[in-house]
Symmetry: C2
Subunit: 442 residues, 2 copies
């Protein structure tokens, strides 16, 4: 730490896992925060006192690390958590999820369901997410109230959708949404999300991407998720979904391709060449039986990959700790190679690489001077985190969302001692349960 001064906030007495480019781990670390940014961080000399701060937090010997980043959510789908599981994909989507969405997704239900999602994410140590859904204005209002950081996209699909009954209005709706939120709220970045290459026409895709380019926002799309999607594009267009999208000019450095389960080497070369990003959602891909994404190969091509949970209907929670454990283990089993997807690689996918994937790595994803103070403290005094030889191993293979004690976003305390600071959890749970009782009865 540099010269003594008074910080807005000082956090000390913990092991700092910086996730900086050297993957530096600082024992007995201390962080000084001013104006929501990390002003300084380092190790405290033995016997030295932490610097003065308007507020001084003792991390209690726990782990201080960057807040986790969830690169793929559909926040309002908390409403459908566990509504139906273990069904064939078509049945689940066409007979359960789509009808439930068309019946129960309104501005009001989206508001409460999104607040529930924010509560869950914050209490589980996630400080930023990248979302796509409908009624995204209402998602954005909830996320803004929660204090989370987020990239939030209005969905585009060539079918009547919640809030957009006329598909011919889908791109206008998305554009208007982006204009309303662009430079409106500090921690929110608007975005456009085309649902998939098979639910949006080539014209919709190119118009939406062009709008995203003009507005300089992230363009997101589910791509190469299932074998049937893959096979269909090969048979209809003689192209893989990635080749099809690339041919339309959709892929550039502001494109986030979600899932990417069914890729060949040519696809990966295209993605790398276009400097596009990938969101990897192992839990959802497993639960929906989509398959196992070739994530270890993507990393080999230098493609930034961030972890995501997907919506709560297909996971069924928003716990990035669980997703890290899944990601680290799944690919070892499928390749029979225990050395791939090691703890450091996976932890990066939940922090700095996730930040890269959603275009925020200049601000978040690691604990470094000048970056935003988006950070969490993991309480380590518990049986399952004892003993601790390597903090990164515990973060990936042992810790859970419930081990998160405190959470800050831009220096604002959002969780303290496992309690939400500025959301009324009881009210949120009550409101969502009321909506759910209507869904149950329908």
């Amino acid at each position: 730490m540099g010269d003594p001064m008074t910080y807005d906030l000082v956090i000390h007495n913990g092991t700092i896992v910086t996730v900086n480019s050297d993957f530096e781990i600082i024992e007995d670390g201390v962080i000084g925060i001013n104006d929501g940014e990390i002003a300084d961080l380092g190790g405290l000399d033995e016997g030295a006192l932490p610097p003065a701060g308007k507020e001084v937090i003792d991390a209690g010997g726990g782990i201080i690390m960057p807040g986790l980043i969830n690169t793929h959510t559909h926040l309002p789908m908390t409403l459908f958590r566990g509504l139906a599981d273990d069904l064939p994909l078509d049945t689940w989507l066409n007979e359960i999820i789509f009808p439930a969405e068309s019946k129960h997704i309104t501005a009001s239900t989206v508001r409460w369901a999104s607040l529930l999602a924010c509560a869950e994410m914050l209490m589980g140590g996630t400080t930023a997410c990248c979302d796509g859904y409908f009624f995204e204005d209402d998602v954005a209002r909830s996320v803004k109230d929660s204090g989370l950081r987020a990239v939030l996209a209005q969905g585009v699909i060539d079918y009547p959708a919640p809030g957009v009954p006329d598909p011919s209005e889908n791109i206008n709706a998305a554009t208007d949404y982006v204009l309303r939120w662009k430079n409106n709220a500090t921690r929110l970045s608007p975005s456009i999300f085309c649902h998939a290459p098979y639910t949006c026409s080539a014209e919709t895709l190119t118009r939406a991407k062009s709008a995203a380019q003009d507005l300089d926002v992230l363009f997101q799309i589910h791509a190469a998720e299932t074998k049937s999607e893959h096979d269909r594009f090969l048979s209809e267009y003689n192209r893989t979904p990635i080749q099809y999208l690339d041919n339309l000019g959709i892929l550039d450095e502001n494109t986030l391709l979600v899932h990417c389960v069914w890729l060949n080497d040519a696809d990966m070369k295209i993605i790398a060449g276009r400097r596009s990003k990938v969101s990897h959602n192992p839990g959802s891909n497993m639960k929906l039986a989509s398959g196992i994404a070739p994530v270890e190969k993507l990393a080999g091509y230098g493609i930034p990959v961030g972890l995501g949970t997907d919506g709560c209907a297909s996971n069924n929670n928003l716990d990035i700790f669980q997703e890290m454990d899944m990601a680290a283990k799944l690919h070892k089993a499928s390749t029979l190679d225990p050395t791939i997807m090691d703890a450091k690689t996976v932890l990066k996918m939940a922090t700095i690489d996730a930040a890269r994937a959603i275009g925020l790595d200049h601000m978040i994803g690691s604990l470094e001077t000048g970056k935003q103070a988006d950070l969490i403290i993991i309480e380590a005094h518990s049986p399952h985190l004892t003993p601790m030889y390597h903090p990164e191993s515990h973060i990936v293979y042992t810790a859970k969302g419930s081990d998160v004690r405190d959470v800050w976003v831009a220096g604002n305390a959002l969780v303290r001692d496992r309690k939400l600071v500025n959301l009324d959890l009881n009210e949120i749970i009550m409101q969502v349960n009321e909506i759910a009782s209507v869904i149950k009865g329908s």
Copy 2:
């Protein structure tokens, strides 16, 4: 519920997930417990008061369910949690784990490490485990003190082992151990664990199995875990590991085969025909890159399969909730079939089928009149368990060990309001951290 009477313990105001043969789920359920057994259970009429009890517990609208059963542990390996990850199996085993065991496993370290494991299991809702290790007398003393229920096996291996420096004494050591613990402690059943078909000679295997038969205890063995084991038996004996063991007469209804990753249909027919049981450890099999066990096929053969975590060096925790989620998702991804390993099937593998696998299904594994009162309450008032449409879905896909509020074994409260009742967690953590500091320095 039957006629009013006074119970030792009454638990009410929760949804009871019985896991009985009809998979009955009882809303607004109530359970009466006498002498450590379930005396009665059922639904409470609207407006009715729960029956009288010396102690009455309000489950707070949560889930009341059987305690989880972990069918494969090496409890003292909590000492090596996260000591080394992401290494080739040979390096990990021969350069890290075996040397650490030979250097640091003593009666005293086993005692504290096992207490830590018990603390972790209890706080995570596991009420019974099936273990195999060395210094098992000391494991047993710790487990006895913790109040857990367990099948605990002394390990047998044809190499010098902790506490058994002379391999020619391995079966005598195991036999003496069993005799010491047989009918000694109510909730503990001794057992014999031959490490593996490739670390025990044919003579050791047959003598150990014969001793287990004479003593009428469960015989356990790691079998068909890795491809290299599989290939080696095929090339050396022209038999799969399962065929090799069967040929030696090792397989009967008191044999628990642990892992069973590399099985063909003939192997499964043999296991089913011998009425042997299987312990499935998805997290460990994934982390060590052993492969993906054909669990959905084993169920098709009617073979009882219980879930297990394996030791903490290869998982890295003892959370059966996490293992359920893994098991439910992994096999969907590997088979591309989202309908297999549904929530009910997987929940059974962590309760009643696990009890079958370790020979305790007459006593535990479901909430039914006459069974032991081994049960847990899951607190449901939290973001990630809201809303709740199907409790079994939440148990498998959303809940975590940290959602467990209360735990009873044989009617004894072992966790209340997330705190251990009769173990001193601070002392255990301190002692294990001291041992770990020696391991770190070595």
